[in-house]
Amino acid sequence: MKRERIVAAMSGGVDSAVAAARCVAAGYDVIGISLRLLRATDGHCCSLDDFHDARAVADRLGFPHYVFDMTEPFERHVMQPFVAEYLAGRTPNPCARCNEHVKFGLLWERARELGATRLATGHYARIGVDPASGAPSLRTARDPAKDQTYFLFMLGRRQLERTLFPVGELTKGEVRAEAAALGLPVADKAESMEVCFVADGDTAGFVERHAPSAALRAGPIVDDRGRELGRHGGVHRFTVGQRRGLGLGGGERRYVTGLDATTGTVRVAAGEGPAPHGLVARGVSWAAGVPPASGASFAVRIRHRHPPIPARLAAVRDDAVQVEFTAGGSVVTPGQAAVFYRDDLVLGGGWIESAVTGTA
């Protein structure tokens, strides 16, 4: 009998290696694919070592492995929007964009061409099945510290049907132990935390190298009463909520409350001012296909590694929503994702447009 073919996306790291290994153990006909996303001139080496690691894992487990060049689409779908978002005074979320357009978009297309029925990745997330309808749903990983659903919220039902997250039921420790037990050469490999295309974490430098010079301009740093406290070298150097590196010297603790790219203004406030009590998000997709009823309660995660905060759906218009925090305020960073959860179930998510402040 012909085995079901699946493509295992392999970054060269331990998570995707164990994901692929689990697919082999489950009896699938596995093809490992690594994506070349960066050109050699982008600061990194073009990830050659990672490809070698992925290939070593494939050799060890006895399945074929290939590298596909996706530098051009990665530039178009991820790197260019990343720069544009920073220039617009927003803080982008490139991993979610990459998942949406590159991994679960273009790579899936390639997998389909290769005769694969499903795509397996090393993401920490789970796919549940509704017992009544049989419809798949995105659920958080068993290891809450590693959960990556924040970057996967846009996966729709049809995508989830053809996706496998083989390490979603494991903790990171269990993944490493399984890799070691299989003799995989990446068992102890360090994790990559930074944005993969920004060398040494210098986001501002990356934006400056890739932006048109006319788009980079200095501007004022003003407080909540409009007083100019200092100057800055461009809104792309700031993130809403940022407290350090404001260049305002000592004195009062201040944090960034807003970035206005049109005037080049960085707004700051002192100490622990009133935090936003809600947000507006756009480009929202819902797992159920339709939004929940207005007033519905859920929890919203507005940053990776931050716990979801209690909230309610205040208003829906087309693909935009207004969400109210029901248990205190929080810093809201435009450009990041807002992902809605009910317990371990991902209800949907979108892109933060703005914070809601003041009295409703």
């Binding site: 093809i31 050659l48 290769l114 005769g115």
Partner: protein, 381 residues
């Protein structure tokens, strides 16, 4: 049993070559040594030099062994220009191998005038365009004799003849032509010619630059008297004797091998065109072409997906240019032929060798159309 149709990347080591190489792996073999061991190595080295010279109709003393064609091309370009003075410039074409094109660009970055001559939609460079690009500062013209991606054969002899009285050194990278078409340095009229052993069934890591007597060349590697002071370093004797055997076999078998490869490549193309009527053959339609190379694009199919599916089906082919990781990049050759980035990624190259059989070709004809249907239609039922 796998079918190997990627001979333009590298060819399998021929058994006769292997036997000779193994013979020279082990005993001490430094040709510069005065003792008997050294003398044996020297004799073998000079025999190989004569065999390689004979492949191209040259005198043995004009052969400089190198670590491969990449080094030979570097020595030709850098060495000839260094000898010609700091302002000497060069002319090349847009479809050269990276070891020529990137080296030419590096020389241009150092301030040397560089002209890169475009090609037509079939990958052919016109002799008159090359000649017209030669300016007062030009001291070197380098033109690949046969293109490894699409098989176009360049008018090297015509260019060399036209430049004979112009104080310009003419170099040709003949790596893809060797063993596939007759090579004669007198007929070509060139001054420098690069060869590689592993494309002929010799070992990788060995190549040669033929340097016409009297051509001035500054060495790139210094620190020893080897190769008549043109390439310092103890010779890779085992590799070089393997190159010699491969060159002899290639010369003896050329007529038959070229005819056989040509017949099989045409059988392959005719059969594929009948099964895939919209497939396009990239490269010269009528002009001179390598007998073993078939580069095709299948509309609606990424070349990479077809390459992977063929590989899984036991057939090794390649897609245009590959980076160090093996990922297909848009081919600079297809780009130079006017294809857009997507089409330049789609070219599938099948390159035959002297051992390719009709059974191999027929297997591709059986398998490829089904894979094309799969790529176009998505998951196979």
């Amino acid at each position: 049993m796998r079918i190997y149709l990627d001979h333009n990347a590298t060819a399998p080591l021929r058994p006769e070559v292997r036997a000779t190489v193994v013979e020279f792996l082990g005993p001490p073999a430094n040709p510069s040594s005065a003792h008997r061991e050294g003398a044996r190595a020297r004799a073998a080295l000079e025999t190989a030099r004569a065999e390689v010279a004979a492949l191209i109709g040259a005198a043995p003393a004009e052969i400089v062994f190198t670590s491969g064609a990449t080094e030979a091309n570097n020595l030709a370009l850098r060495g000839a220009l260094a000898a010609a003075g700091p302002a000497a410039g060069l002319v090349t074409s847009a479809v050269e191998h990276a070891s020529v094109l990137d080296t030419a660009r590096a020389l241009a970055a150092d301030g040397r005038p560089l002209a890169i001559v475009p090609v037509d939609g079939e990958g052919q460079v016109a002799a008159r365009d090359v000649i017209a690009a030669v300016g007062p500062a030009t001291r070197l013209v380098t033109l690949g004799l046969a293109n490894g991606e699409v098989g176009a054969v360049a008018p090297v002899a015509e260019v060399a003849t036209a430049l004979r009285e112009r104080n310009v050194v003419v170099h040709t990278d003949a790596v893809q032509a060797a063993g596939r078409m007759p090579l004669d340095v007198s007929a070509l009229g060139v001054d420098l010619l690069s060869l590689s052993a592993h494309k002929l069934g010799g070992p990788a890591g060995v190549g040669a630059l033929w340097v016409r007597r009297g051509v001035r060349l500054r060495p790139e590697l210094t620190g020893g008297p080897q190769e008549r002071l043109r390439r310092a370093g103890t010779e890779n004797v085992a590799g070089i004797v393997g190159f010699g055997v491969a060159a002899r076999l290639a010369r003896n078998e050329l007529t038959d091998a070229a005819a056989r490869m040509h017949a099989l490549a045409e059988r392959l193309w005719t059969g594929l065109r009948a099964r895939l009527p919209d497939a396009v053959r990239n490269g010269p339609a009528a002009g001179p072409r390598l007998p073993n190379t078939l580069n095709l694009s299948v509309p609606g199919c990424t070349g990479e997906s077809l390459m992977v599916l063929l590989d899984l089906a036991g057939i090794a082919v390649s897609v245009g240019s590959a980076c160090a990781a093996g990922a297909a990049e848009p081919s600079h050759v297809l780009r130079a032929m006017g294809r857009d980035a997507e089409a330049a990624r789609g070219g599938l190259r099948l390159s035959l060798g002297p051992t390719t059989s009709a059974v191999d070709v027929d297997r591709v004809l059986d398998v490829l159309p089904g894979l094309v249907a799969q790529v176009r239609g998505g998951a196979a039922a």
